[in-house]
Amino acid sequence: MVTRSRCYLRSAVARLSISSPLDVRLLDKGMSVGEALAAFNAAYSEAGGVVSFLGKVRPDGDVQALELSHYEPLTLPGMEKLSENARARFSLDGALVWHRTGVMTPGEPIVLVATAARHRRNAFEAADYLMDHLKSAAWFWKREKRRGTWRWIEARPQDHLDLDRWK
């Protein structure tokens, strides 16, 4: 079973509440990166280290937009299970895993991962582990728009090699 949020933490500096130890969300618009990280940092004041990764839409040549679709009954539960695995495997104090869906333009955030742990190595590795799995094993389908035409993006062989690192 996926561990559900146990409590909500609100700090004076962060206007946003996050659930602890795992805060996993699918966002259909926008992402308040700064506020999320402030709230996360405040929630884990006992952690020795906090690592964060922000994935953005690459301004890649003539890419106009990226669209992510998902399947509600599988995508969020899958992200929750993944986060719980990361928490257990790397002895995390907590993790934040936020993923956008819908249409995004170059430069916009797609995914935000933050990990808090007693020691930095665990926080770094957990963030890396979460990203490799979100990219290759989470239920998302992407298509990009170039010169007015949408095209579906297929998995790259590198994605599977990235996953194999954790086996």
Binding site: S69, Y71, P73, L74, F140, W141, I153, E154, A155, D159
Partner: protein, 80 residues
């Protein structure tokens, strides 16, 4: 009510629609004949998964969908 079939990701373009409702019950052979030859060929690909009632089937050929069930046809996910 019937069985609702959802076409995810690139399958949506191939199917020309996002979903379709067909008569229950529906098994693997029934699904293949309902979706037409183009989608049926895609369904045979090993890396294409099928979820029924929110669960991914370990063996998609064992599909048994009852009245009111939702089936999702899940192509391989996109990478980086």
């Amino acid at each position: 009510m019937g069985v609702r079939i959802l076409f995810l990701g690139p399958l949506q373009d191939l199917a020309g629609e996002a979903e379709r409702t067909v008569a229950a019950p529906l098994d693997w052979a029934g699904l293949l004949s309902e979706v037409g030859p183009v989608i049926a060929e895609q369904l045979q690909v090993e890396r294409l998964n099928i979820a029924c009632g929110g669960r991914v089937l370990a063996d998609k050929t064992s599909l048994v969908a009852e009245d009111g069930d939702e089936i999702a046809l899940l192509p391989p996910v996109s990478g980086g």
